[in-house]
C-alpha cells in the first residue's frame, strides 16, 4: 500500500493539548468579557495578587495530585485514596510540628514518606495481591481518614510555626510557593518519565500489560512505582493544604479532591483506559477546573448548585476532545447544506 502522506511525526509533548487549551481559553475569555476584575493583577506586599493568582495557587494541590494520578491512570489504574492520604500526611506534619525539638526537614521528609508509604500500600495491593485498582484504593479512601483521626484522636490541631506555614502561604519571586512547588514537581515528573524509560514502560503497561510483561517490562515494578509516586504527590498536596490553613482537620482536608484530580487528568486528554498520557494536559485540566470554581465564586453561584455548571463544562470539554463527537459534527455539517 502507498501511504498518502507520511505520519512520521513522533508524539510530541504538545500533541493532543489543543482541546484542553481551547476549553481553558474559552473559559478565560468568558471571564474577560463578563467578570469585572477577573484579570486584575497587582503587587501587594511584594507579591502578585488577583484572581488569576488564586487560580494557580489554589489549583496547585490539584495539579500535584493530578501529576501522580496521570501516571496511575496511564497504567490503566486509578487512585481514589489521594484525598485520604493528604489527610494522613497533613496530620503527621501538624503533629510533628507541635513536638518540640523535631527538626523541620525531618518533618517534611516524614510526611512525604508517610504519603509515599500509603502509595506503596496501594501499589502492594494492586501488584502483589492483584486487587483491582478501584477497589484497592477504595480501601484506603474509606479507611485512611479513620487512620488520620486515630493519629489526632479526633482533635483539630492548630499551629503557627513560620517554616511550616511558609509551605502553603509563602511567596518566592512574587509567586505563591505552592505554585513553585507544583512547577518543580511537573519538571521532576517530566524528567522522570521522559528522560528515563519510565514513560514508555508506563504507556506500554497501560496499553497491553501482558505483552509488556512478555517483552521483559516488569509490570509490577512499574505499577508499584506509579502508586508510590501518587502517594508521594498526595503527601505533598496534604502538606500544602495543611500549611495553608495552619491547622489540620482530618475529616475535611482533601475531601473529594480525588475526583478533581481524575477530572484534571481526563480533561487533559489522558484516556482512563490507560496508555498514552500527557502531563501538561493534566496541568491544563487542573487549571480549567480551578478556573471554573473561581468563576463560580465570582458569580456568586451558590455552592450547592455549583455542581451543575461544573458538570456541563466538563461534558463540553470532553465532547470537544472526543473524536466521535467531531466526526458526527463534521457529518452533520456536511449533511445540512444539502
Amino acid at each position: 500500500m502507498r501511504p498518502e502522506r507520511f505520519q512520521n511525526r513522533p508524539v510530541r509533548w504538545w500533541s493532543g493539548l489543543e482541546w484542553p487549551v481551547a476549553g481553558l481559553a474559552l473559559l478565560l475569555l468568558f471571564n474577560l468579557t463578563f467578570t469585572p476584575g477577573f484579570f486584575h493583577l497587582e503587587l501587594r506586599n511584594g507579591h502578585l495578587y488577583g484572581s488569576l493568582v488564586d487560580i494557580i495557587n489554589r489549583g496547585s494541590p490539584v495539579v500535584i495530585l493530578g501529576l501522580g494520578m496521570t501516571l496511575v491512570i496511564a497504567t490503566g489504574g486509578v487512585d481514589l485514596s489521594v484525598g485520604a492520604v493528604m489527610a494522613i500526611a497533613g496530620t503527621v506534619a501538624a503533629q510533628l510540628i507541635l513536638r518540640p525539638g523535631f527538626s523541620f526537614p525531618a518533618l517534611i521528609l516524614a510526611s512525604l514518606a508517610v504519603g509515599t508509604l500509603a502509595g506503596c500500600w496501594n501499589g502492594f495491593l494492586v501488584t502483589w495481591l492483584r486487587v483491582q485498582p478501584l477497589v484497592a484504593t477504595l480501601v484506603l479512601m474509606v479507611g485512611g481518614r479513620g487512620i488520620a483521626q486515630l493519629l489526632t484522636n479526633g482533635q483539630q490541631i492548630y499551629f503557627e510555626d513560620a517554616r511550616l506555614v511558609f509551605v502553603g502561604n509563602g511567596h518566592l519571586l512574587g509567586l505563591p510557593f505552592p505554585v513553585l512547588l507544583s512547577l518543580a514537581l511537573l519538571g521532576l515528573t517530566a524528567l522522570l518519565t521522559r528522560r528515563t524509560a519510565l514513560g514508555l514502560f508506563i504507556e506500554s503497561v497501560g496499553d497491553n500489560p501482558r505483552a509488556s510483561e512478555f517483552a521483559g517490562v516488569s509490570t509490577r515494578t512499574v505499577k508499584f512505582v506509579v502508586y508510590a509516586f501518587s502517594g508521594f504527590c498526595a503527601g505533598l498536596a496534604g502538606l500544602i493544604d495543611t500549611s495553608n490553613i495552619k491547622s489540620v482537620d482530618a475529616n475535611k482536608i482533601g475531601l473529594t479532591l480525588e475526583l478533581d484530580a481524575i477530572l484534571a487528568v481526563v480533561v487533559g486528554g489522558t484516556a482512563l483506559t490507560g496508555g498514552r498520557f500527557s502531563l501538561l494536559g493534566t496541568v491544563v485540566g487542573a487549571l480549567f477546573i480551578r478556573t471554573l470554581t473561581t468563576t463560580m465564586y465570582a458569580w456568586n453561584v451558590k455552592s450547592d448548585v455549583a455542581p451543575v455548571p461544573k458538570a456541563l463544562a466538563i461534558i463540553a470539554v470532553c465532547l470537544l476532545q472526543s473524536p466521535a463527537f467531531r466526526r458526527r459534527l463534521a457529518a452533520f455539517r456536511r449533511a445540512s447544506p444539502s
Partner: protein, 319 residues
C-alpha cells in the same frame, strides 16, 4: 426534672437508685443507653462525643455508641439495632431534621424512650420523643446579629460564610441572623457563599470575596462557624487588611482556636455553642427511667464571648 444535676460529686450512686426504682425488682440491672452520633466531622463533634462517653463511664451506665458517619441511613440502622438489643433509652443527634417518623414509631412500639440531642427532628407527633437537649441555632444567629448590630452601631456591609448547604445549623443560623438584619436597615449582606463549615473552603471563598469589585465596601464578616472564620481571617490578612479592625469578624461555636484568635485581636466575637452535654443527657436518662416527665425542650448553658474575655477564658476551653 433536672434536680439530679445538683448531685455534682456523687452521681454514680444516685442513678443506680433511680434505675432500681424504675425497674422495680431488677436491682442489679445496669442501665443500657444506645447513643447514635452523627459522626466525627469536627472538633466540636468530637468534644460532644467525648463528653457523653466520659459521663456514661462516670455514672456506670453501659453506653452503646454508634457513629453514623454523617449518613441518615446508617443512623436509622443503628437505631433499629438498638431496639433489637433491647436498650433502656435511645438517644441520638439526628443527621437531618426530617425522615425520622417511621423509625421513631418503631421505637415507640418497642416502648423505649427517646432523647434527642443537639438537633431537633421535624415530626408532627411530638410523643415520639421524650425530650430534646440542645442549642437553638436560630438563637445563635440572633445573638451573632445582635452583637454585630451593637458593635457597629447598626451599620455594616456584611460578607457571610454559610455552612454546609441543607444542614440545620446553616439554615437556622442564617435565619436568626437575617431576622436581626430585618430590624437594622443599616446592615446588609452583600456576599454570601457556602464555606462548607471548613477552614480551607472558608479561606478560599473569602479570597474570592476580596477580589470582587465590591470587596472594598465589606466591613464585617459573619461566619456560621469558627473554622470558616479562621480560614477567612487568613485570607483577609493575605489581602493586606487587618481582620478584627478593617473587617469585623463574628462567628459561632466557641472552639479554642477562636479564643486564640480573639486573644490575638483577629476575631471579634464568637457565640458559644456548647457541646458538653453529657451530664445533662444522662440526667435526663435517669429521670426518664424514674418515670418522670421532662420538658420537651432543654436548653444548653451558652454565652457570647468577646475579645475582652478571651485571654481569661482560653485556658479553660475544653474543645
Amino acid at each position: 426534672g433536672l434536680f439530679l444535676a445538683s448531685c455534682g460529686e456523687e452521681p454514680a450512686k444516685t442513678p443506680g437508685g433511680a434505675a432500681a426504682e424504675a425497674g422495680g425488682g431488677a436491682k442489679k440491672k445496669q442501665i443500657v443507653v444506645g447513643f447514635s452520633q452523627i459522626g466525627a466531622e469536627s472538633g466540636w463533634r468530637t468534644a460532644n462525643t467525648e463528653s457523653i462517653q466520659s459521663e456514661a463511664k462516670k455514672r456506670g451506665i453501659k453506653l452503646l455508641f454508634s457513629d453514623a458517619q454523617g449518613k441518615q441511613e446508617n443512623q436509622i440502622n443503628a437505631l433499629r439495632s438498638f431496639i433489637a438489643q433491647g436498650v433502656d433509652v435511645i438517644a441520638f443527634s439526628p443527621v437531618i431534621v426530617s425522615g425520622w417518623e417511621p423509625v421513631l414509631q418503631e421505637i415507640k412500639k418497642a416502648g423505649i424512650p427517646v432523647v434527642l440531642t443537639d438537633r431537633a427532628v421535624d415530626a408532627k407527633d411530638d410523643t415520639l420523643y421524650a425530650t430534646f437537649i440542645g442549642s437553638d441555632f436560630i438563637e445563635e444567629g440572633h445573638r451573632a446579629g445582635e452583637w454585630l448590630a451593637k458593635a457597629t452601631g447598626g451599620k455594616a456591609v456584611i460578607a457571610e460564610l454559610v455552612g454546609t448547604p441543607g444542614a440545620a445549623p446553616a439554615i437556622d443560623r442564617k435565619k436568626g441572623f437575617e431576622e436581626v438584619l430585618a430590624k437594622n436597615p443599616g446592615m446588609k449582606i452583600i456576599k454570601s457563599q457556602s464555606g462548607d463549615f471548613n477552614r480551607t473552603k472558608g479561606k478560599e471563598v473569602m479570597e474570592a470575596f476580596l477580589k470582587s469589585p465590591e470587596a472594598k465596601q465589606i466591613t464585617a464578616l459573619y461566619a456560621h462557624n469558627d473554622d470558616m472564620a479562621l480560614g477567612a481571617i487568613q485570607a483577609i490578612e493575605e489581602a493586606g487588611l487587618k481582620p478584627g479592625k478593617d473587617i469585623v469578624v463574628v462567628s459561632i461555636d466557641g472552639v479554642r482556636g477562636a479564643f486564640q484568635a480573639m486573644a490575638d485581636g483577629k476575631l471579634n466575637c464568637t457565640v458559644e455553642c456548647n457541646p458538653l452535654i453529657g451530664p445533662q443527657l444522662f440526667d435526663a436518662v435517669e429521670a426518664l427511667l424514674a418515670k418522670k416527665t421532662l420538658p420537651k425542650r432543654t436548653g444548653v448553658m451558652e454565652s457570647v464571648y468577646e475579645q475582652s474575655q478571651a485571654k481569661e477564658a482560653l485556658p479553660n476551653r475544653k474543645y
